[in-house]
């Protein structure tokens, strides 16, 4: 549980239970983790990330879900948390990889002395 506490609020009402014991990650964080691991497997297989526009569109579903819950004060449901978490895990990781690669490319280009 302490390892999951690094990431997750671990609210019992929003966490999966197995044989009466609460699992260390809530539904949303479990979805994020599973989605990230799925993207890792996809990268090992295909060696490329999903398209940028699709990643942007599907990754934004989680912030929209969170915003909807905050605005309406609704409880939401755990299936939606798991689904939007998984999409964020896949496509948010894809966006983050693109950003890191772009930033690393710019950094190495600025460190390379220009030819005269």
């Amino acid at each position: 549980m302490w390892a999951g506490g690094w990431w997750c609020h671990q609210l019992p009402a929003r966490s999966p239970h197995l044989w009466g014991a609460q699992l260390p990650l809530c539904w949303r964080c479990a979805g994020i983790l599973l989605g990230s691991v799925a993207l890792f497997g996809w990268l090992l297989w295909k060696k490329r990330v999903p398209p940028l526009r699709m990643s942007l569109a599907l990754a934004l579903l989680l912030p929209l879900d969170v915003l909807h819950a905050v605005v309406t004060g609704g409880q939401g449901d755990n299936a939606r948390r798991l689904l939007t978490g998984a999409l964020w895990g896949i496509f948010g990781t894809s966006l983050c990889l693109r950003f890191v690669k772009h930033a690393a490319g710019r950094l190495s280009a600025s460190n390379t002395p220009a030819r005269t």
Binding site: C8, C29, I32, S36, L43, L44, V49, G92, C96
Partner: protein, 175 residues
């Protein structure tokens, strides 16, 4: 002892002139081992050698239990070699370490320890900022990026380890 040819006096080995008459002494014969290895013209004929019936010097092949020498290869005595010598580490090891402790997997990659420690420190800083901002709600949004940071750090460590494996493993994204 070197005997002088002029007066017959016995002189100590190695002297060049006779201590009695001052005549020049003949040089003492070289040791047998020196003559065998250094004076090739006085070698016995090698007619008995079936590989070189004309005689002369024949290079001898090394004994069969000697390892073949390859220029540029780091020759290490057999008793110092380990099964993992020259074997690059599988990238899954730094990837797993970086998944749980972002960046620290780079400690297993040569010349990347500084970058790994920097990534780890940045992650700790990000988590501290997110924890502080939790009290003003925004931090929750920052925490949903934490698993992503871990998996991105794992992929980055995998690729750095693969790039240092001399082509044995392939990087998957950061080529």
């Amino acid at each position: 002892m070197a005997t002088c040819a002029s007066c017959g006096t016995n002189n100590v080995d190695g002297t060049k002139f006779c201590v009695s008459c001052g005549a020049t002494l003949a040089p003492a014969p070289a040791p047998e081992s020196w003559r065998v290895s250094g004076d090739l013209n006085n070698q016995p004929p090698a007619a008995a050698d079936p590989y070189n019936p004309a005689g002369g010097y024949t290079p001898q092949p090394p004994p069969p239990n000697y390892p073949a020498y390859n220029a540029g290869q780091n020759m290490t005595p057999g008793y110092q070699q380990t099964p993992s010598a020259n074997q690059p580490m599988h990238p899954i090891v730094p990837a797993l370490v970086s998944f749980f402790f972002p960046g620290l997997g780079l400690l297993f990659v040569p010349n990347k320890a500084g970058l790994g420690i920097g990534i780890f420190a940045a992650t700790i800083g990000y988590a501290i900022v997110a924890t502080i901002l939790t009290f003003v709600v925004v931090g929750i949004c920052l925490f949903i990026a934490m698993p992503i940071i871990n998996i991105v750090a794992a992929i980055h460590s995998w690729d750095e380890a693969a790039k240092n494996s001399n082509g044995q493993f392939q990087p998957i994204y950061f080529k």
